[in-house]
Symmetry: C2
Subunit: 368 residues, 2 copies
């Protein structure tokens, strides 16, 4: 059955989008985030930013158009334990930036999304504490995009927010992932694959089998476009738009891929540096190698979205330079503009209502 979520596709894009930026986060801090913000503002003439950071760090942004500054006195470092970010550094740029998207009684959120390149664990914990999860979602998830052989991007979630997921959690991830994909790509019918293993064993754990049942049921009711089980190689093949897995598997998958790419890149460099002849070959191949490098440039994909919270929070990769940070800002902008929060809310509402153990709708308050 062709799936069209009429309600969602009829949502009008937001006219005004303001993004709160944690300017202190990431390995490079303001020296990467501020130029990233500047480039983003130049390419997004409608966008507004709230720059959050220490007073001295933000002097460079004085007088920028469409920018407000909010000062924070503390900085969460990349290796601060979650407890420090939560309990001790209450005036950190990370926390103050997240607080900008927290809507109060009068729906007075100052920003429609927040972007940080900071410590992921701290960002998730703070965002969860300040924003709370959307009704109907038990656990937020981290989604990210990986390039695939079809020249498109595969969204994978969860990437490390949750270990030991239940089948219901995996269904929620599928729903949130679909909402993100439709907000970013405009495709209201993105396909979802459930990450499983092949013929080498009994096919998947009990949790995976049950999750497949739930996903099939949601698809039969037209709430999802469920493709079926996929295997690890399908992520980079681009078999489906979205791949759903638990956070343990997702995190291992992501880090293994980073490790393999780094090893192969290192080996190619080594081979081309072996002797004078190979160095000449490298020179001849430079345009080819650079083109290849641009295609697999992780800065275009790095970072992710924290989904399932009552507020949009995007994570730029910790090692982001200005270009990578700009990409994260652009993604957050698109998501906010295309009303990701309402999309997640609407889809979850629909899906849960159709479930055998549907929750009472009165428990589901409107998204902010």
């Amino acid at each position: 059955m062709a799936y069209r979520l009429q309600r969602v596709s009829s949502l009008q894009p937001l006219a005004r989008v303001c993004i709160a930026v944690d300017c202190m986060g990431g390995d490079h801090g303001p020296s990467a985030t501020l130029p990233g913000c500047r480039a983003f503002l130049a390419s997004h003439p409608q966008a507004e930013l709230i720059l959050v950071g220490t007073e001295s760090a933000l002097t460079g942004a004085k007088g920028w158009e469409r920018c407000q500054t909010v000062f924070a006195t503390e900085v969460v470092s990349m290796d601060d334990p979650i407890e420090v970010a939560m309990r001790r550094k209450k005036d950190s740029s990370l926390r103050v930036a997240v607080a900008q998207v927290k809507a109060g009684e009068a729906d007075d959120a100052r920003a429609q999304a927040c972007v940080s390149a900071g410590n992921t664990g701290a960002l998730m914990a703070v965002a969860r504490y300040l924003l709370k999860t959307v009704e109907g979602i038990d656990r937020p998830a981290i989604a990210a995009y990986l390039p695939n052989a079809k020249g498109r991007l595969t969204q994978v979630l969860d990437l490390g927010a949750n270990v030991d997921c239940t089948a219901e959690h995996l269904l929620q991830f599928a729903v949130m992932g679909s909402a993100l994909a439709s907000a970013l790509s405009g495709d209201e019918n993105p396909s979802v694959g459930l990450l499983n293993i092949g013929e080498e064993a009994i096919k998947g754990s009990e949790t995976i089998k049950r999750a497949a049942e739930l996903l099939r049921a949601a698809a039969a009711d037209g709430h999802l476009n469920f493709h079926g089980n996929v295997e690890g190689n399908d992520i980079f093949k681009g078999t489906t738009d979205i791949v759903v897995c638990d956070g343990f598997v997702g995190n291992v998958m992501l880090k293994t891929s980073e490790g393999l790419a780094a090893m192969l890149g290192g080996m190619i460099r080594e081979e081309f540096r072996r002797n004078l002849f190979t160095r000449l070959a490298a020179l001849a191949s430079l345009p080819v190698l650079n083109h290849f490098k641009a295609r697999v440039d992780h800065r275009r994909y790095s970072g992710g979205a924290l989904l399932g919270l009552k507020g949009l929070v995007f994570k730029a990769h910790g090692s982001s330079d200005a270009f990578a940070f700009e990409q994260a800002l652009a993604r957050a902008y698109d998501a906010a503009r295309n009303r990701l929060l309402e999309r997640v809310h609407d889809r979850i509402l629909e899906t849960l209502q159709a479930m055998p153990t549907a929750v009472d709708e009165s428990n589901l308050s409107p998204a902010q």
Copy 2:
């Protein structure tokens, strides 16, 4: 504490090693396995083979030195369900080959190891049924080797034989992996890493935390060289000799890596074929690219070992050509010659005795 397993390292290599070969298995069957056997025999002047296959398939091997032939009337296809291999095709080459390593009352195994490129699920099921698991091992595991940035190989297990592993299973995998590593590399003290996730979440599930405790205890008693937790990127970095994980995670990791490598390879080819200039660059770079290709040639790593059975069974990759099949035969030969079966038995015995819930030693019969 420096760990040296005196008993194991004092084991003398076997003088005579005979390997049973399922000549019908794999995508290419006898057209790959027989040339692989021939090359293996040429490079291993002490080795003997039992070639198992249909009478017509084995005519090509008539008169080969150090070879016996055993005929089987059936062939398990690559997509036969496990039930077909187990219940219907009882005279399959796969099953007859495995049966050659089954020791009877009088310790009369005809071969010291078996190699097949056939259907992994069928091979594991048949091997488990015919050979049984070693006492002290609850579940057999599949181990394989992946290249790492240090120019060595990282052994990873389990790769798909088991989903939903307990902490005790992970400990058993570590013990079996250590035995395999010491048999193949001669290093009696290989390091073991437990695959876990990073700072992005609560560090690992309850199972992983408990497995880490068991591994630490085994290391404290000198039975293992436990390095600690490792993350996905450590596999290709080569942080430890062995990486232990459950079969679901291992399978996803392996297939994702295959998918990523295939995508990157495809992209490089595409870039070099883009136009006349890039084709010339490819020509200039040919020696470099070929050298790189040889370094990452999956045929050298493909396939794995089925560990924890009362008999050695090695799996060549389903897509094996003659070279890849020869590598699998060589690995099986080394493992048998260095008495992997006794190593697994000895290490398991030691480790379990030291565990808080040590089993009665009288239940542990000597390895075959």
